[in-house]
């Protein structure tokens, strides 16, 4: 019996050790691109994943562009992104309004394990059970960086995947966690500042119908204030606008650009970034 108990205790301990070795190796292998220098890293949720044409942006800027944008990416993913990005990097960040108001449990949060990020979650209103969920989601190492994205194909009209009522629900009242999430994003941005990263922010457009819901929402003031809070972290911060041509349909659905929109946006963004040396928030219209 003693032998069984002894082995029952030793087995998981040894497993934990072995697993950490496997996990760290796999993680380092899958995310090795983060060690690259002289490249541009993009972070955001599905709006950034679908809204940036990496090839076009890379051609404009003359640097390699990697994206960590992911459908449903959340604040934990952002914190890990800021941890992994090397010092002095060039970073494009999109913290959309939807990413701020999305329910915590719907965030992707699968970028790996980080004690620092979890500690910050805990300090900012995440319960132990929510952190446990994050840990469980990250037991398997994931690749969080890519050189390519699959843009939505062009179509003359939008396809409505999620009805407007879905967004109305989100924008109806200020979520209790909004302040905590915004604080966490600011912690991530501060981390990038400490790493001396050159940052560009981008706010992707919504379809006008969604925009009108947003304008009537009590959340709007909070999300607008958030932009000022970001700006206050920098010595020099300005906002600029990118205008998408209305000749063709730019939207795939209410909140995502299609390949035409993504291409136009990336071209303009590339041009502006090449000529601009100040931290800028680009608002796309």
């Amino acid at each position: 019996m003693r032998r069984f108990i002894r082995k029952s205790i030793l087995f998981p301990i040894c497993f934990l050790g072995a697993y950490m070795v496997v996990f760290i190796s796999a993680n380092a292998y899958l995310n090795r691109v983060f060690d690259s220098e002289g490249v541009i890293f993009v972070w955001g949720d599905s709006q950034a994943y679908q809204g940036v044409d990496l090839e076009e942006l890379s051609n404009e800027i003359g640097k390699k562009v990697y994206t960590s944008a992911h459908h449903g990416a959340g604040v934990y993913d952002f914190l890990l992104f800021t941890e992994r990005v090397p010092e002095n990097s060039n970073v494009i960040v999109s913290i959309s309004k939807l990413v701020q108001v999305r329910r915590k449990e719907n965030d992707y949060n699968r970028s790996g394990l980080s004690f620092w990020a979890m500690k910050n979650l805990f300090k900012n209103g995440y319960s132990l059970s929510e952190i446990r969920t994050v840990v469980l989601k990250n037991i398997k190492p994931h690749s969080n960086i890519s050189e390519t994205t699959e843009l939505y194909a062009y179509a003359d009209s939008m396809r409505i995947q999620l009805p407007l009522s879905h967004f109305r629900d989100y924008y109806q009242k200020i979520p209790i966690f909004l302040g905590d999430k915004q604080n966490l994003y600011l912690i991530g941005i501060e981390n990038l500042i400490l790493k001396n990263c050159e940052m560009t922010f981008i706010e992707f457009p919504y379809h006008r119908e969604l925009e009108s819901i947003e304008n009537q929402s009590p959340i709007k003031k909070k999300t607008d204030d958030f932009i000022f809070r970001i700006g206050s972290l920098f010595n020099e911060f300005k906002t600029d606008t990118l205008w998408l041509s209305k000749d063709q349909n730019n939207f795939s659905d209410l909140s995502h650009l299609n390949s035409v929109g993504a291409n136009q946006l990336s071209k303009q963004l590339g041009e502006k970034m090449t000529n601009n040396e100040r931290t800028t928030m680009y608002i796309v219209r």
């Binding site: 019996m1 069984f4 087995f11 040894c14 497993f15 697993y19 037991i139």
Partner: protein, 478 residues
């Protein structure tokens, strides 16, 4: 409480330590601990239904006591039927009442008469079909004087509610399990380690194979009208592995857990997808249920002793009842009938015991003949599973007819690479270990410790990395 939950991962070591340390020297206390922990295990899901188990236990214990001294055959029969009616009464009320009401009203309205009968808004208590059959086996065996009725109500309660196999089997016979509660149990290191290995393999089957297959099977079956024949075939194949991984995985965890507490449960699955004919399949699939029906239904009906007509009748009865046991839906009945149709030609030509041994025993690969037989049996089984999984008969027929259409020759719309590779790897290991109680029973047993541990670690990592979205065990609903 689910076996693949954190709750169970905490519950099991606590019970294990109490059982082997605190109550080690007292058999009665050990049995009492099993009863209490089994009730906690069951009550974790819904404590209200504990009353059903307690009532069933009380009825069968009392009937057993009366049967002990009763020699009058008529009274013995009355006692037996009391137990059968109480147990099956509960089962019918919770599981079949709505089915019969709905079908009666439908039948009357078909003939132009509208009758009003309302169905009940009740949920099915988890595992009711399993513990009902287990406790019935006690009463029937006592009635047939194959088993001495127990005086020990604690041991009997532990037998009825034994948590490892309470909610999804294996359905243990009183003749096998009950006497184990009377004997002093000593901790056996190699048995416990073997149990742990079986638990590990069961978790792999459930979490990696079944839960991954479930995602695709659910997607394809739930939207079958949107897919062509080739994708529907894939859906049926995924369900085939889902149900095997799910149910045999549960059985492995149950048997392995029992071994940790010094109990031996009977093997419930013996690599059924390597069967060479349907008769062999049914000797290897859900063995505890098949043998239950054989001993308590098929043989009392006359078994295979009579003429051809009697064989046909009894075969249909046993398979249809077996189908109906799984659920109150015509799809299960048709699934049972279809298996009877598969089985009858073999029975009537006396070839039902042709393949008793393990396929390709002592060889690495099967002969071409064995391979073809296995493939054909597997194919028939897959078709039958479509009825088992379908929502209703219309759904099943539409699904099958699309499979036999020209769209079967198109490239499937869904091509899950990882799950397919996992299934192939799983089949290789199952094939390698097909002569044992479970596939990894002897795998790596002779290896040096680091290699053996590396194998176990690799399985655990596969569970962590490739575990599918958590699904409830399919057989909980039966």
């Amino acid at each position: 409480m689910l076996f693949n939950s954190i709750d169970f991962a905490v519950f099991l070591p606590i019970v294990f330590i109490l059982y082997w340390f605190l109550f080690k020297s007292n058999l009665k206390l050990q049995n009492l601990l099993i009863v209490v922990s089994s009730y906690v295990f069951y009550g974790w899901w819904d404590w209200r239904f504990l009353s059903l188990i307690v009532f069933s236990t009380a009825v069968d214990y009392t009937v057993g006591q009366y049967l002990r001294n009763e020699e009058n055959q008529l009274r013995r029969k009355v006692l037996l039927w009391t137990s059968i009616l109480v147990n099956l009464g509960f089962l019918c009320l919770f599981k079949y009442y709505n089915f019969f009401i709905d079908n009666f009203t439908a039948a009357f309205s078909f003939f132009g008469t509208e009758i009003s009968a309302s169905s009940l808004d009740i949920i099915l208590p988890v595992g009711i079909s399993f513990y009902t059959f287990q406790t019935l086996s006690y009463t029937i065996d006592v009635y047939k004087q194959k088993l001495e009725p127990t005086k020990d109500i604690i041991a009997f309660s532990a037998f009825v509610s034994f948590f490892p196999q309470l909610v999804a089997g294996p359905i243990e016979r009183a003749t096998n399990l009950l006497p184990q509660f009377y004997k002093e149990r000593k901790f056996d290191y190699s048995r416990a380690v073997d149990g742990m290995r079986q638990i590990l393999w069961g978790l792999f089957k459930k979490i990696v194979i079944a839960d991954n297959c479930a995602q695709y099977a659910n997607e394809i079956f739930n939207n079958s009208a949107d897919y062509g024949g080739s994708t529907l075939i894939l859906g049926a194949l995924f369900f085939t592995f889902q149900i095997y991984g799910d149910f045999s995985g549960y059985s492995d965890i149950a048997i392995g857990t029992s071994r940790l507490f010094g109990f031996n449960l009977k093997q419930n699955f013996a690599f059924p997808y390597f069967s060479r004919d349907i008769a062999e399949f049914w000797r290897r699939w859900h063995i505890s249920l098949s043998t239950w029906f054989r001993d308590y239904l098929y043989i009392p009906l006359g078994g295979s002793r009579g003429g051809a007509m009697m064989k046909v009748r009894n075969t249909f009865i046993i398979f249809i009842v077996s189908g109906f046991w799984h659920g109150a839906n015509w799809t299960f009945i048709v699934w049972g009938a279809l298996n009877a149709i598969y089985f009858l030609p073999i029975l009537l030509t006396n070839r039902n015991r042709k393949n008793i041994d393990t396929v390709a025993s002592g060889r690495l690969f099967p002969s071409p003949n064995e391979f073809l037989s296995m493939g054909a049996t597997f194919g028939l089984t897959v078709i039958a599973w479509v009825f088992f999984r379908a929502e209703n008969m219309g759904h099943a027929m539409a699904y099958i007819s699309e499979i036999f259409s020209s769209s079967t020759f198109n490239i499937p719309e869904i091509r899950p690479r990882n799950t397919t590779l996992l299934i192939i790897g799983f089949l290789v290991i199952e094939w390698y270990g097909r002569g044992q109680q479970f596939a990894i029973q002897n795998l790596g047993i002779q290896w040096k410790r680091p290699f053996r541990y590396a194998l176990y670690y690799a399985i655990i990592i596969l569970i962590f990395w490739f575990g599918g979205k958590e699904q409830e065990f399919i057989y909980f609903q039966f």
